[in-house]
Symmetry: C2
Subunit: 275 residues, 2 copies
């Protein structure tokens, strides 16, 4: 039996999100037990409850020895407000867990990876089921927890790898949550940002990526229409800033804010993953 | 006679912008000679010409010994792409100049301040004349160059001060353009960003502001409507992150993306300014 705790360090989910994933798990993953923390439905302004509520729920899930994994319910925004305190309160029970999420959950994945706490994994979240084809995204995460490695991003190889939302990683740079990424393949994806903002984020990020093995660009989707054309594609932007900082541009990555978003275990994918 | 060079390191201006400022200067500032570099009207995608064009024009203005000041024509986005190369090419003639601009020009003001090249000044730009009451904004910049200090932000006192767009300063952090700000009063303003993005930028920025004398918040304007209320005002956000990092929150600053935007000479305002 794989026992998975779900909580929402950023934005809340709805009861129907929970019903849907429970139905999927019941039908297809008989060895999975999903425990959705009630905090996942809390609402406080932009967030799934106050900072204290989100922090307490996360720490509760992390430190419960009966859970094998913590699956972040949804992104949005808010994990950076509690990540530092959370990591400080995690005890040894947190160290055996697999942590799944992406987008805004990247603040936590980054902090966990920095502190070498368990196995942070870039993976679809529960709320991704809302997308077209989203059931398959949720299946991908649950299959991974079952030891099925077919959902891993295909370029992942023998070099340590991380995957982040571009904005999230740019905001992590230089903060107490930022992991050391020397020797790593760094994958980034973005959604709903203008190309000038993508360029600006690459200006910032690449100044902080000295020593990485290289960069891969995931999907850059839902770019808003601007009052004028930017004049370069997202890939050209990535290449420009990589070249500027002598970072190897390694090509595309099969990650993004969509149902096809693949799995990227942080570090060496070949490292043992808990069952 | 005060000779001012205008160029556009970010986005272009239009000929009517130039006509308008020439008319104003002719009518009210007989001792001002404005030289608008033709690059200011160039268009290449998002930018006022290619990186090379914007860089060359800026270096030309900076290194021309007959100019007393360089007035950045307009913000937008793009100065970060050329600032590092520009500063490297500036010669001793750049060292006597006053540099005026804000918003995206903050990348240059920051780099100039870091390298102690002349007098960087947060001030209205030429394109600010497009705003309602914008003539007064342009007058404020031109009066300052005439030695009139009445347009200086009223809280500016005996501590070294800088002023930036929040996004711009957040993106500068940790890059080769970032000036040391220990002991400084740091003023930030923002426009057209969601409150969750403001919060995210403060998360990032305040992690980099160790040792500053304190923070002042300028106007946060044109905040887009979100699908839900954020739950805190911009001031509450600023106070939250300042408290988190033991940064003194000093109150408001009379700066912003509007015609009332006041002048903030970088460093000590009492330092000699060239006439």
């Amino acid at each position: 039996m794989i026992r998975i705790a779900v909580c929402a360090p950023s934005a809340p989910i709805l009861p129907e999100d929970a019903d849907r994933v429970h139905a999927l798990a019941a039908a297809e993953f008989p060895n999975v037990e999903l425990h959705i923390h009630p905090q996942s439905f809390a609402v406080d302004g932009h967030f799934a409850g106050s900072d204290a509520q989100r922090l307490d729920a996360l720490v509760e899930c992390a430190n419960d020895p009966t859970f094998d994994a913590v699956w972040f319910a949804r992104g949005g925004y808010g994990a950076c407000r509690i990540a530092e305190d959370a990591v400080r309160r995690f005890d040894r029970n947190a160290r055996n867990k697999t942590w799944l999420g992406y987008s805004d959950a990247g603040y936590l994945l980054g902090a966990l990876y920095r502190e070498r706490i368990g196995h942070p994994v870039h993976a679809p979240m529960l709320a991704c089921m809302r997308r077209e084809g989203g059931d398959e995204a949720a299946r991908r995460a649950l299959r991974f927890l079952n030891g099925d490695r077919s959902g891993i991003e295909p370029s992942v190889g023998d070099r340590p790898t991380v995957a982040f939302n571009l904005m999230t990683l740019a905001m992590l740079c230089g903060t107490p949550l930022m992991p050391g990424l020397a020797g790593h393949v760094v994958m980034v994806e973005e959604v709903s940002e203008h190309l000038y903002a993508i360029d600006r984020l690459f200006f910032h990020l690449t100044a902080h990526l000295g020593g990485v093995a290289g960069l891969r660009l995931g999907r850059v989707s839902d770019v808003p229409q601007n009052d004028r054309e930017f004049g370069a594609t997202a890939e050209q932007i990535a290449r420009h800033w990589c070249e500027r900082h002598a970072i190897a541009y390694l090509g595309s990555a099969d990650i993004g804010h969509d149902a096809a978003n693949k799995i990227v275990p942080f570090g060496l994918a070949a490292a043992p993953q808990p069952q």
